[in-house]
Symmetry: C2
Subunit: 254 residues, 2 copies
């Protein structure tokens, strides 16, 4: 019994006339294989990942489990279409009462936007407008601790400092936790996952500086919030000023 | 009195029929302005850097001092040509007896090559063929210590974790030290400099993940040598195997 996911973090939403992912009740996520080279590339990556013995187990857990491919009736009713069968990352987490906060981060967000998103993500009053009033009350149970997001990101970073197997262009980092547990001040079941591998290429012996740098930056931003959750810095504003200065020096008007 | 530099680390060597840099006896390095947008881009960068008050002094020291531009007879005798007037990074260091070891690192070297270059750079027997016999005898005085290369790279990394003013595409990291001092086991006058800014672009509020990741990786490699200078790991060989595995899974034969 397949259905369209309520919470969807990877790829396009399934909708009328558009091919989207499906889920079942057993924790599987069916992602339509893109028909161009992005599809074959993503399949090649998952195949390589699941058979490559050089990737340690503690790193494999950062990726969705891959169960193979399956021909399924497409979500738009257009007939049979090949799907990647993946672990549904949200299914284990979803709590019908409070929902499961999740944040998908990609590398091209501005530093200002990422800082704000990371503060909202762990705030019990995330709906408010004023960034400086965000309480960041879940920062310690979500970001901190030996199983928290910071610890997981540091583990991932250590691997990226060494691995030259893959370059993860346009890959996303997904952060998840259980709000119900965080509200009780308990270990929040926080998870870091990498998703979207349509643009992964071979590393050819070279470190993936771009992704490694994204991780370093994410770790820095989260460390700041974890260390001083109540302190909202004016860095974003300063950086706007810096930008304007550089633009004007180059004679660029925007 | 201008002459062609003996030691040249930035740009192309001056030679017959080719425009190259010049130096004088006062520690200036004259870099011919490239005639296309790379030239105007590099000039815009140096101008912005020297006037941008958001860049702290302890970061400015990682860049060559910029003295402006000057029309000079070109090194190939083709007439007057505009030159960037920069600090000659090598002039203060050069020791006629032992030379001044220097290493220019760019991001597209393989991890294996960078590891080897960083070991050779601090070895008194750098001329030998076998990588495993390199003694890395200068590792502690060049890489270590409060003024060593590791400390400087960590300072630079802290800035790159925050700054969104510039993105340093195709920029190089130059490492220098005084061999004479290193041989005596004294503080080695080690320096980290950034050079080659023809492809720097505005950061537009976004962290320069690519360069930040290059720094993280460099710090990791140097830390390994500093911690265990005598230990030559088999990582490079393992990574070759990983590469072959990924290639064969994708049906690529090289």
């Amino acid at each position: 019994m397949l259905k369209k996911p309520l919470h969807q973090v990877a790829g396009h939403q399934a909708s009328e006339g558009q091919l989207g992912p499906l889920i079942d009740d057993s924790g599987h996520f069916y992602k339509p294989l893109q028909s161009d080279e992005r599809g074959s590339n993503e399949l090649a990556f998952y195949t390589s990942l699941s058979s490559n013995t050089r990737i340690p187990d503690h790193i494999c857990r950062f990726f969705p489990v891959f169960y193979g491919t399956q021909l399924l009736e497409a979500s738009d009713g257009s007939g049979l279409h090949p799907h990647l069968v993946l672990q549904d990352l949200v299914s284990g987490h979803l709590n019908p009462d409070s929902g499961s906060p999740e944040k998908k981060l990609i590398q091209k967000f501005s530093a200002k936007d990422v800082r704000l998103a990371l503060r909202k993500f762990v705030s019990s009053n995330a709906a408010i407008d004023s960034a400086s009033d965000l309480d960041c009350s879940f920062a310690s149970v979500v970001y901190g601790g030996s199983n928290g997001i910071l610890a997981q990101l540091l583990e991932l970073k250590a691997w990226f400092e060494d691995q030259t197997i893959f370059h993860f262009y346009s890959c996303s980092v997904l952060l998840l936790y259980e709000k119900e547990l965080a509200l009780k001040g308990r270990s929040s079941g926080a998870e870091v996952k990498l998703i979207d591998f349509a643009h992964v290429v071979e590393g050819r012996g070279i470190i993936d500086h771009n992704f490694l740098g994204g991780l370093c930056s994410l770790i820095k931003f989260i460390s700041e919030i974890h260390t001083t959750p109540g302190e909202y810095t004016n860095k974003a504003c300063l950086q706007e000023a810096e930008k304007n200065q550089f633009c004007s020096e180059n004679g660029i008007n925007e």
